[in-house]
């Protein structure tokens, strides 16, 4: 191939040679967003299946962390904006074509839901809890009466949020690495696995821990499948996509991706959880920490490598 060697571009090291517009804020936000989505999904799912009593951590306790996670995510998003005082502009428009707009509105629904869900379980988790004001008690009762509707909304929006964390990147077809539809399912799976891992860590209930360890293993297998699929797709595509895949196969992101994301973040914790289910004693914190680390790394690696992938001239 006759390749062009660019000798001088725009002489602007702030843009060239690779796009460098998103830093830690976006991957961090994608991580906490995915994690919150995972936790909220399991909470809604097992509540709707009538398993509130069997899996109290998943339905009541783990969701208590999601308001904080989502707020941290929102803060990160806010920090990423260059024109911070104008952020409210996101909410004066609905732009169906823009995934960022979708994300902003999804968060607008999920965040209050996570607050409400946590609030209506506070009295069960902390028996001494007192709202102090009669209005709040009434409000709480209102939401408890509509818990089923809440759970449905939460299940739907948690999935949307989880998929969205991948679809956001997928929409930028200027970056060949991101331009693959597998990112949505991959990020959703990754968020679910992080959510399940948090339940494993928090629960004191043997049955619940076993179930969520199993869920984790299944999701990790699915993730590995998506990753293989992603590479098959990229490698079977055009030159720019092949070059994007090369970033992971023989390039600057090879080590972080295969060691931290795939090996330490997926294979090792899946194996540990498997051994644990087989009766070996393994402190839950080890696989959980590895899964969360792998989750963070996946987002960082994909966001950064995506910005390094580009179309040829």
């Amino acid at each position: 191939m006759e390749e062009e060697l660019i000798i001088s571009g725009r002489m602007n090291d702030r843009v060239d040679p690779t796009l460098n517009i998103w830093h830690w804020e976006i991957p961090f936000y994608l991580f906490v967003g995915g994690l919150a989505a995972g936790i909220l999904f399991f909470a809604a799912f097992y509540y709707l299946n009538g398993k509130e009593k069997d899996y109290p951590t998943a339905v009541k306790i783990a969701p208590m962390f999601t308001p904080f996670l989502l707020i941290l995510g929102l803060i990160a998003l806010f920090l990423d904006l260059n024109h911070k005082l104008y952020f409210w502009r996101l909410y004066t428009t609905i732009r169906l074509e823009s995934p960022m707009s979708w994300g902003a509105w999804t968060l607008m629904v999920v965040t209050p839901l996570s607050f409400i869900w946590s609030a209506i379980h506070l009295k069960e988790v902390f028996p001494k809890w007192d709202w102090k004001f009669e209005v709040i008690n009434k409000l709480e009762q209102f939401f408890i009466n509509h818990k089923k509707h809440l759970a449905w909304l939460m299940a739907v929006f948690a999935v949307l949020l989880g998929i969205y964390t991948g679809v956001l990147l997928r929409a930028f077809n200027a970056r060949p690495l991101w331009n693959t539809s597998i990112l949505g399912p991959l990020f959703l799976a990754s968020g679910l696995s992080a959510g399940a891992a948090v339940v494993v860590l928090l629960t004191k209930n043997e049955l619940e821990r076993k179930l969520f360890s199993k869920i984790d293993i299944i999701i990790i297998v699915a993730e590995l499948f998506f990753i293989i699929h992603m590479f098959m797709g990229l490698l079977a595509s055009t030159q720019v996509q092949i070059e994007a895949a090369q970033l992971f196969l023989d390039g600057p992101y090879t080590l972080p991706f295969w060691i931290f994301v795939v090996f330490l973040g997926m294979l090792v914790p899946a194996l540990l959880e498997f051994l644990e289910l087989r009766g070996q004693r393994i402190p839950a914190v080890i696989p959980v920490a590895l899964i969360l680390m792998g989750n963070v790394m996946l987002r960082f690696v994909i966001v950064y490598a995506g910005q390094a992938s580009r179309y040829l001239y």
Binding site: R10, L19, N82, T93, E97, S98, M100
Partner: protein
Amino acid sequence: MRYAMAIDTKKCVGCNDCVVACQIENKVPEGFCRDWVVEAVSGTYPNLELEYRSERCHHCANAPCVRCCPTGSSHIVEGGIVLVDHDKCIGCGACIASCPYDARYPHPDGYVDKCTFCIHKVRKGEQPACVSVCPTNCLYFGDLDDPNSEVSKKIKERKYKRLKTEAGTDPQLYFLI
């Protein structure tokens, strides 16, 4: 109306006058640019070829930057010119990530900025600053829908290429080769 620019790569000498003219005309902050000149070498030694290309926003007919913008700040006006409304932009960078030509930069004042085809001059019937200043007259700006415009004529007479068409953006810069 369909504004476009034709750039004669055979006539361009890479003097960067267009870049300077743009920076002055549009008060582009130091260290950034709305247009730039690429010096591209291609081929295998010893059969090398050098090409100069004055590049800027391609005012894509299928503009991903406009699609991705969550606030509607990036929009399209008459003649297909793609603009950024500074007061609506939140500086999220979605458009920067979505532009295959890296035509946009984050202005230090927070909003995102890029080439406007000097729409403030075009509306007055003038030429964009880069076009009017080019010492070799290698930039042509005009309406593609008008068969008598200089751009239309050049595109008809000469061979041309457009950049990264595989990205599906339908760019409106035509590089005469």
